[in-house]
Each structure stands twice: as C-alpha cells, then as structure tokens.
Symmetry: C2
Subunit: 199 residues, 2 copies
C-alpha cells in the first residue's frame, strides 16, 4: 500500500513547518498546520492563541503534577477537550484526502493506518536560534534556554497524551536534520520517498 | 564543506550493515564493518569473536554495576582497551580515506569532524526477526526477547562510553526505517545525500 498522508513532527523552530508547506506544494496536496487550530477554534469556541499553545504543550502545571505525583484532576480539562477535537479533526482529514499534517501528534493519532509516512525534523541549535529571532513575534531574552524549555514541554506533552517518545527515530519512517541536509533537500528527499511509494 | 565519511549506527538485525555495504559499493569507497574487528584483533591479540561482542556491548556486569551503584573498577578493563583501539582505528580511517564505517560509536568518535554524515538505521520487529532467523548462526529461542536484550545492551554501551542517546534522531543527519523505506531506497537516498553535499 502506498503513502497517502504525511505527518511531520518537528522541533520548535527547526524549519519543519516550512518543509511541510513546500512538500505539500510540490506534491499538489494540502498542508494542515495552523489550519487545524482554526478548525478547533470553530468547534470549541476557544481563541486561536490559547489553542495554539495548549494543543501542543498542554497544561504545564497539571502535566508536571501528574508526572511527579501520579495525581490527575477529575474529568476532562479544557486541554483534554482540545486534544479530543484535534484527534477528531486529524482522523477526519486523513480519511478525506491525501495531505501533509504538521505537528499535533498526528503520527500517534493515525498510527493504525498503514498509509501514513511519519517524518521528524530537527535542526542545529544555532540555526534554530537564528530562525527564532527572525520569525518569533515576541522578544526572547535567552533563546537557548527558551528552546530547551520548548523541547522539554513538547516532549512531556507527547509523553502525557501518547505512549511515544518524541524524537526517537524508531517512531518515524525518516528523520532529517534540516541544518545539515538543507530545507530544499529535505523537501526533495521526502517528495521522492512519498512518490516512490505510490508508484 | 562536503561529506567525506559516512557513519552508520543501526539496530541489531535492521539491515544497517547491508545498507552500509551497498552504499559504499555505489559510491566506490570502502566500507568498514567487521574489518575493524580484524584490525583490533591484530593490535590486541584478542580473538575476533570476543572483540565483536565486547566492542559493541561491553562488559555487561561492569556496566550494570556502574549504572546501579556508580562504582567502577580501578584501571582500564579489556573492554576499555578494545574501546580505545576502536577509537584509534576509526580516527585513523577517517583521516586516511572517504569511507563508510558501520557501528562502533563512529558517530561519537568522529564528532569533532565537520565532514561526517551520521546515519541511523532501524526496522520493524517482524522484519528484524525474519532477518535474525535467516542470518544468525546460533539458535535463538525467543527472538523477540533476544532483540529487546540486544537493543538494551547496545543502548547501555553507547550511554556508558559516550554522552549520546542511541537512536535519538537529534544525533543523526538522517535516520531511516529500512522496513518501510526498503533497503535499496535507503541506499539511494543516502548516496544522493552524500553526493549532493560533495557537488
């Protein structure tokens, strides 16, 4: 069976979103990244800024309390509802069309499908800091510490909502360092791999 | 700067050695895999079978005692000497020629060079068991448990002798699942990546 959907998990500020966008353009399919936030907003009534953070990082305090004490609140939190909505939307998207889905644990959500190509993108620290300075709208005092904290939170979020280890190569069909390989070469390699599996 | 050396780290029975061999043939360079064992044997006087195991798995008891108690014996063990010899041989090989080096923490040993392409190969469990049955000369009672134990020992060995996490995508330029991608497609992707970085 060939590939239908491509999921791209990525380090924050690694160029993963850009690679997803360019890859989808090259393959003539849709890329769902921030678009998923819009869909969750529509269905939940929550504001996009809130969903953007909670949908990939969760409730920091609740998750940390859970990991240190094993205790969890009763009943679903707002973050759990966002997770459930993202789950539903991503499942429906994969059912509806061939597409690229960036982030939001799509690899885990679609793990029972056989037609999904799972990708992880990471980058060198210097490169990530450079991209952060260019693209982030808020001022980051110590980018190095900020990136470490973002990695820690994303990895904890994945551990909390799934049984997968974020960034462990064994979860993905392919992982790429966008700094050493280059953004366009990443797109090229992924497009070829996708197309060769559909021939 | 282009790539000169390719290191291939791999799960046991994942096809990583075969990929290294085919890749080197395609690129017209040498592949050093078991050849390193022969070189260590020459210099150490130890038998190849012993080096093969200790050079990638170390002394199981000593490593486990170290991780559980923090205690370590005084002075270098035979395994430490094998590590030192492998270190020397791999450093010299990278200095001498463009080549593919399979296993033996070559990625860590060459981490200060800028001309090294680091690869990790893994595979699906069913595929690994199939390969194990075909290629392993000893009878394995429960392949599933055997593979888990080999993974655990290789990962502990890497943790003991280096500061890297075995199989964490962030250590490699590229990682590939040889089951979903296919052995020949892996070779193709890696050869292209190597050549494109040398143009």
């Amino acid at each position: 069976m060939g590939y239908r959907v491509i999921t791209i998990s990525r380090q924050f500020s690694s160029g993963g979103s850009l690679i997803g966008k360019k890859l989808a353009e090259k393959l003539g399919i849709n890329c769902y990244d921030r678009e998923i936030i819009g869909k969750v907003a529509e269905e939940s009534g929550l504001c996009e800024k809130f969903i953007e953070e909670k949908g990939e990082y969760g409730n920091k305090v609740a998750i940390e309390v859970f990991f240190s004490t094993g205790m969890y609140y009763n009943g679903p939190s707002v973050e759990d509802n966002i997770w459930a909505l993202q789950h539903k939307i991503i499942t429906e998207l994969a059912e509806k069309e061939a597409c690229v889905i960036v982030g939001r644990c799509a690899d885990y959500i679609l793990k029972n499908r056989k037609d999904v190509m799972n990708v992880f993108i990471h980058a060198d620290k210097e490169d990530r800091i450079e991209r952060l300075k260019k693209e982030c709208d808020k001022k980051i005092a110590i980018p190095d510490v900020y990136l470490k904290e973002m990695d820690r939170r994303r990895s904890t979020y994945v551990q909390f909502y799934t049984d997968m280890k974020w960034g462990d190569s064994k979860n993905y069909d392919i992982t790429l360092n966008s700094s050493s390989v280059g953004i366009d070469a990443c797109v090229e390699i992924l497009a070829d791999l996708y197309k060769n599996n559909n021939n």
